[in-house]
């Protein structure tokens, strides 16, 4: 595994991208790595594009900004349009194909398509597209172990939402095993 992994997670506000980023960051922390999480912020609370960047590293993190991500999660078309070209060669993107119809033309990155929103709605995991896509990202990159990711999930959930933990686990596993 390389010393540093950088993520951009992007989609509509309300799709839970910031939360997904927090899960990744806590997972990295669980593994004893340096981590940073930085949201875009502004007058885009709901519906606009929202994204965050996460860095996991074995050494102190200089910039928490990510210009060229190793890993991209794009849950809508504007996000995919904006960040696809920035993924470093050899990088990985996971795209919600229920909201993004086009396919990448890049040949130097691996792009995985998963109908995350559709799957979430079909399985009664409303709002779980973020975790489904995260499961897929984990499967294709193994940036941490499943066990670590679930630790990260646990740490990311406030006590009052603890009862939703099993649904999130279900969503992650759904994404992880999608297409098997």
């Amino acid at each position: 595994m390389s010393k540093t992994q950088s993520f951009i997670l992007s989609g509509f506000g309300g799709q839970g991208l910031l939360f997904a980023g927090k899960v990744i960051a806590y997972a990295g922390l669980h593994d004893g790595r340096e981590v940073s999480w930085l949201p875009s912020y502004g007058p885009e609370m709901r519906g606009g594009t929202a994204n965050c960047t996460v860095v996991l590293s074995d050494e102190p993190i200089g910039s928490p900004m990510v210009g060229r991500p190793d890993l991209l999660m794009a849950l809508n078309l504007p996000s995919f349009d904006r960040f696809e070209r920035l993924v470093v060669p050899g990088g990985v993107a996971v795209v919600d194909s229920s909201l993004v119809e086009r396919r990448s033309e890049r040949t130097d990155i691996a792009v995985y398509y998963i109908p995350a929103t559709k799957l979430a709605n079909e399985r009664g995991l409303h709002g779980g597209a973020n975790m489904i896509a995260l499961g897929k990202l984990l499967r294709e990159t193994g940036f941490v172990s499943m066990e670590t990711l679930l630790e990260g999930l646990k740490k990311s959930m406030p006590a009052r939402k603890e009862h939703l933990y099993p649904y999130n686990v279900q969503a992650i596993e759904l994404g992880y095993h999608y297409g098997e």
């Binding site: 927090k22 960051a25 806590y26 922390l29 340096e34 981590v35 940073s36 999480w37 930085l38 949201p39 912020y41 502004g42 102190p60 993190i61 200089g62 910039s63 928490p64 900004m65 210009g67 740490k155």
Partner: protein, 354 residues
């Protein structure tokens, strides 16, 4: 060791303030410091403290003056335009020698500007921000953990020197989450607040908190007393971090968020065989003049990097006494320079210097 938590800078600094004994917070909403107020609003009522959303920044800083005068540990926070509004009150607080802590989560300006991270309030923080002969003690964290550590010390410094302390952060540090722990809170020996206007209880003459001195010689003496404190602060409290600086031919000087970007650029430059280093002022006032000057011995050039049009660069030139050429690179208005851009500047200077 305690468990590390992931927290936003804004929230971490609020928690640190509470752990430092701050029980009174007066603020006014502004992006990008909002989480700090929200955190205080949630916590203060549960621990018998005060969270008050004031009618204005102006009122908030004066509530700080009142609570500080009463002897309480007190804090307010804002972002750039709001700090402008607090400037009047800060001048009075300095003149009245009342301790308090003020957080500025900087955004781009002038005017309403933007809401993205910037460092364009350096002059405001270090030269003012209010009228009169005055300084704030200005601390510049570069990580969420350092926001916590400096927040602890900010309250001690304020009490020790009876002067406002500003924590000068920016939208990036305020908004980002990093692992943080709250142990290791240092404690300084602090004097009793015998000057506080908390009611004389018929046991002492009345205390007066005041910044008015109508007789010129008296005002001069008062200001000189304040500046005696400043002399001590300059001697004892200036701090910086040196990163690969000892053998650096090109020494970057940057604080806060910009310093993080510079670290990346320094590493990249070293990989290309250019001996770059970084000097990161942690106290902006007092500026680490001696530390910076000591590097004029071996450094061929300074490169100051800021998220502004160039403000700290003036202190770099002054502290280096113009012994070494000082270059500047900045992005402003909320645009954040990339390490690659900074590297390009380093390489340009290195090419020219060789």
């Amino acid at each position: 060791m305690s468990e590390k938590l992931l927290m936003k800078g804004n929230e971490a600094v609020a928690e640190a303030a509470i752990r430092a004994g701050c029980r009174h917070f007066f603020g006014y909403p502004i992006t990008p410091q909002t989480e700090l107020s929200a955190y205080m609003a949630k916590r203060m009522p549960k621990i018998g403290g005060t969270f008050l959303q004031a009618e204005s920044e102006v009122a908030a800083i004066n509530m700080v003056l009142g609570a500080g005068a009463a002897g309480a540990r007190v804090m307010t926070s804002s972002s750039s335009p709001g700090i402008s509004l607090k400037s009047e009150g800060l001048s009075y607080i300095v003149g009245s020698e009342v301790p308090c802590v003020v957080m500025n989560v900087q955004r781009g300006g002038p005017g309403l500007g933007g809401i993205q991270p910037a460092q364009s309030d350096y002059f405001q923080a270090t030269r003012g921000p209010g009228h009169g002969d005055m300084h704030l003690i200005v601390l510049a964290p570069a990580s969420v953990q350092e926001m916590v550590d400096l927040c602890y010390d900010a309250f001690d410094l304020a009490d020790l020197y009876r002067n406002p302390v500003m924590i000068l952060a920016d939208g990036m540090l305020g908004q980002m989450m990093e692992p943080v722990e709250f142990e290791n809170q240092p404690h300084r020996e602090l004097p009793e607040k015998s000057w506080a206007t908390n009611g004389h209880q018929n046991r002492r003459p009345h205390n007066v908190i005041n910044s008015l001195y109508l007789k010129a010689p008296e005002l001069e003496a008062h200001v000189r007393d304040i500046f005696k404190k400043y002399e001590t602060i300059r001697e004892k409290e200036s701090r910086c971090e040196a990163y690969l600086a000892d053998d650096a031919e090109i020494l970057l000087v940057a604080y806060g968020a910009a310093a993080r970007l510079c670290k990346n650029a320094v590493k990249m430059a070293r990989e290309r065989g250019v001996r770059a280093g970084l000097l990161r002022p942690i106290t902006l006032w007092p500026f680490p003049e001696r530390q910076l000057f000591s590097h004029t011995e071996h450094t061929k050039a300074f490169l100051t990097v800021e998220m502004s049009m160039g403000q700290m660069v003036e202190d770099v030139k002054l502290a280096s006494q113009f012994r070494v050429p000082t270059y500047f690179y900045g992005r402003t208005g909320g645009v954040i320079p990339t390490p690659e851009e900074i590297l390009e500047q380093i390489l340009k200077i290195a090419g020219g210097a060789r």
